[in-house]
Amino acid sequence: MPSTISDAQLIARVVVTDDRHAFGELVRRHQSAVRATLRKLTSGNAALADDLAQETFLLAYRNLKSFRQEAKFSTWLYRIAYNVFLGDARKTKESQLPEDMNIDEISLAASEDATGATRQSALKIDLERAMSVLSDAERAAIVQCYHNDLSHEEAASVLGCPVGTVKTHILRAKQKLKARLGAWAPE
């Protein structure tokens, strides 16, 4: 299917004629972003993220008629993905850190006498690990506003909360990250 066809046209085909090829094209276009977002939300658990991404697209298919084109299709998908993630998080109640995670390693990486690219990648790894200490809501706010580059208003729509709450989550998340990654702070 040619990529010149817009998301809106593909959605119309799915809604009107149940065109599964059109839906397949929508999935192909957005799978990377949705899976990447869910990997961030699940602290890098790729298998769980892919399961949740599949659930997200199935829910999107079932509810496509209710999509009003008021927001971007990707934003609508992020919203479904976040709800699916929340539903799963409630079921599993897993708020513990991954087993291979050792917070103490963070300061060790920062204290190494590394510069440039090495230092940058070490900080990235530590940041990924430190994201696990955030609450689900704080992590989701960071993922939507930074990784998915949504505005506060769009993030609020995705997360289903007021804009002020999104800002608060981001502020708290950054405070926690700063505290956790204190060894990386410039002298």
Binding site: V27, E128, C145, H147
Partner: protein, 118 residues
């Protein structure tokens, strides 16, 4: 695009988040059968049962016969009236052929309408 992300200023955590976000957006997760897996899990498409068309056609025929049986006088009078009109006119082969074509067309249309898929 968030201005905050592109202009992180001198806040080091802001810079770290912005850098990580740029890398995140640049990364592409290969499909690797993901789309096919989603499509295979979609609910089966709605399809009309195979027996629907013959049953609908049969019901139309039964309905027509029932009307004919319940109102025999009406059809008798209608038939006589039509015959009287036809007998009072000279009819050629073309007229008969046209009548047959018209009747056939009406019957065929009724059957198509009854057997349509939607």
């Amino acid at each position: 695009m968030n201005e905050r992300v592109d202009n992180p200023g001198d806040d080091w955590i802001e810079r770290a988040l912005a850098d990580a976000s740029r890398e995140h957006r640049a990364e592409y997760i290969a499909d690797d059968g993901f789309t096919a897996s989603v499509i295979s899990r979609l609910p089966a498409p709605f399809a009309l049962p195979a027996w629907r068309r013959p049953v609908v056609a049969l019901l139309w025929i039964c309905g027509g016969l029932a009307v004919m049986m319940s109102l025999p006088g009406l059809f008798d009078q209608l038939f006589r009236g039509v015959m009287a009109i036809l007998m009072s006119h000279r009819m050629g082969l073309v007229d008969v052929a046209m009548a047959l074509i018209l009747l056939g067309g009406i019957t065929w249309s009724a059957l198509v309408y009854a057997a349509r898929s939607e």
